[in-house]
Subunit: 270 residues, 4 copies
């Protein structure tokens, strides 16, 4: 991994990133919210629920990259304004995905953290553009990325001047069909060996099954992850995208209880 000059763990202290009330890389961070921002009522309801359960950041998609041009494409600017309203009501900073180099500058006015999705992991123009932004970047692993390729993408961002990258394991495509992807938790300790950047886990996209989110969230904590990002919907069956893997608010409360208890235990173990 010769090209990893800025993100290598060698000779670097671990990176911590302050966002709102949480210091990512030091505190355990939970990012929660709907897959897509659909309506103001839905978004505010979910935002209040996840805040009450202990989430520190609110996530919500307003541009939906879809395999088909005929699917729901997201609310765009209207959705961002809903997220801003949710931030005002809950105090939770906003994480939202950017898909197009032309959107980075103006979206900076709304979001607190840019998300780069798995599909854009080789969109080098976009990586460089968020590298010029002054907001942290949540960089999801590509569905096929090796650790070296993923870290090169982080290097692209840092090399443009933005040091605040949070890596997010979200599953890789394998031949398995029972799960939507194969969540690779060995990425957590591996990435920590290779880089000073924090690494969190997305157990919902990583498995595609709501029933697997709790055990895989606990396993992520045990593997040493710096946090989780999960999708919560007040009515998963009516969700416009990814309803199969969304948690209800009560499920999220229970996961938070177990995850935080385990995290506390893990700190006593080592």
């Amino acid at each position: 991994m010769d090209n990893i000059k800025l993100v290598t763990s060698k000779g670097h202290a671990r990176t911590t990133i302050r966002v709102g009330e949480v210091t990512i890389g030091k505190d355990f961070v939970v990012i929660a919210g709907p897959c897509s921002v659909e309506t103001e009522a839905q978004t505010l309801a979910v935002a209040k629920a996840v805040k009450a359960a202990g989430a520190q950041l609110l996530r919500g998609g307003v541009f939906k990259p879809r395999t088909s041009p005929y699917g729901f494409q997201g609310l765009g600017l209207k959705g961002l304004k809903i997220l801003v309203k949710a931030r005002e009501e809950t105090g939770l900073p906003i994480v939202s995905e950017v898909l197009d180099t032309r959107d980075v500058t103006w979206m900076s006015e709304y979001v607190d953290v840019f998300q780069i999705g798995a599909r854009n992991i080789q969109n080098f123009s976009l990586l460089k553009e968020v590298g010029k932004a002054r907001k942290p970047v949540l960089l999801k692993r590509g569905m096929y990325s090796t650790f070296a390729e993923w870290l090169n993408c982080a290097e692209d961002i840092l090399s443009e001047g933005n040091p605040d990258v949070i890596l997010c394991e979200r599953g890789i495509r394998t031949f398995e069909t029972y799960t939507r992807n194969t969540l690779d938790l060995s990425a957590v300790p591996s990435i920590k060996e290779l880089t000073h950047l924090p690494v969190i886990v997305d157990p919902a996209h990583g498995t595609g099954r709501a029933s697997l989110i709790l055990p895989m969230s606990l396993a992520a904590v045990a593997s040493g992850a710096d946090g989780l990002t999960v999708e919560v919907h007040n009515d998963p069956k009516a969700a416009l995208s990814d309803g199969d893997q969304a948690l209800t608010p009560p499920q999220f409360v229970e996961i938070m209880r177990q995850v935080l208890a385990l995290r506390t235990f893990m700190e006593t173990l080592h």
Copy 2:
């Protein structure tokens, strides 16, 4: 493949696309040129050589998507001007890759065919942007694309109003390491069953080995491909990118001889 409404073969006549002197989808087309435009001298030398050998379009990269930010990034506008000069001298229309939504409009002034590379196959913003352009699009298969995913990308382009898409098989990533990718020639007859769009083959990226380009070019012709795209360099060992898989002009002449003879034979066979 329910979402494929415009590109499905059902109820559509086969698409043909006129570019310069060649009707792609009817005539056998050969696109040749350097991986990257490096200098005017190199580009003109290669352009003249491939023209003399029978190529109908000139290819050359001016933006190089690279895994590392520290590699050669391409000449950009300067490179396009060199390609235009080569077009003036040889009459060959130009194919060049676009990487960024912001570049589509102004690049339309220079190129005859846009190329979308394998890394941008899920960059839906870019697909839609070339869908609004009035130039044909050479759409490479992603390194991991299934046929259904690839055709959905073509659907993205057609759904924006651009009917002129040429599909290009260029190999998929497998566990094999002897070849750089695994060239999937079964894509040729499969794609022809599924869609009315023409499909060509890139045997160089598909294998990553100069020694395999001739046999795989012949196999592509026998499988029914509508054409080939190959990289030719006047000095492969000095190439700034992909020298291992570039042909010298004499090698290209020999491949053209065998490919065209086989194509002629194939027309008598059925």
Copy 3:
């Protein structure tokens, strides 16, 4: 590929293997027959049909390795006796798959060529056992084998004293679902660079679609393959296994016509 001592192309003349009337590695060989031996009537009918169309060896499975224990498991010894009867009537030597180390010795009395299937590519006990046999071995590539792994399996056989191995590309598993596997024709020229052993192609298992067998057979010939193995059934819809990819006798006749014409043309091309 340091472990490949006996199969490496370096310093070895190309291997040719005489079986019945054909010299594999020199003549173009076509192996044809039913996936499974089902009845004497079916086997004799197919054997006569493929003989008449020009096939030089008869294939037929009598032990069927199945993903489920509840599928058709093959006729065993009874099936071998049917194959022997078909050999007596047509003169075609027999190729049949062996699955168990305990079966190698007694099956030697019946078959002319042992087939090792893709599922047994890492069954090293079985590879060594056929390495002790005095019959040629048709060694299929594993669904996930790299060239290096495949050649190591051939090395296992040769290292036990049996020099007569024929390699057979039959497709690898990829993310594609339209085809059953992805036929890797780049294996043909690659394997010829790496080893002195002959290499043939199985276009039926490689694609799983009868409509793709003709174009992929022609592409295999153009890529330089030493032969083909195909499944022919007198009534594919009633076949107990793999009916989707079996050819009818008339389809096989047409494929033979085109394949042999192309092979003759290819010899004039180089």
Copy 4:
């Protein structure tokens, strides 16, 4: 998964398997020992060390399936006799891999649990043969097995009359090269949804890196695994196989401490 009749979780109580002092599927089980049995001194030293640290079963390979015929092939019967001696001295039951149908009967005299390795997951003859044995079977997932394929292999064993199958996740091949395989911990809760059989985890083969064994063992416990199998060697650098992923006895002691503490905590969490 229509073919899974005997192993399906539907309508079955969870299977527990008594081996020596441990009830697998109820108690948390740790299987430990050298990759290969090399000498009596080495095996006895490791057996005593893992017994002292709390392991309940002793593992050790005496037949080594190798990619190359020129690697160390194992001690065979001599190795089994060494394992028996270690059992006599420590009381630990023995787990050892069987590779050949011909070895099942006589090996039954020596081993307490048969292991079927990843390479033999499609060796259906061998699966059926251990299905006839009266010893539990530790069935490793194949390097490429889907859950459905893996469970069909278990079905093969149960359908022959042997109900005592322990499944073992050991990593699947992906494009990642930093780890030797990708350990799929989502297999643990998924397999528990699908079947009544116990499932354990092999974090060493799953990652191929000694530094990842501790975090992945903890993650396996948190995911709900019924146990672990790990390799311990008194001198990993001198090991004849897989030394890179073997633990020293002191490392194993520390892993046992953390694993058992976490397991106890997990029982209080739900």
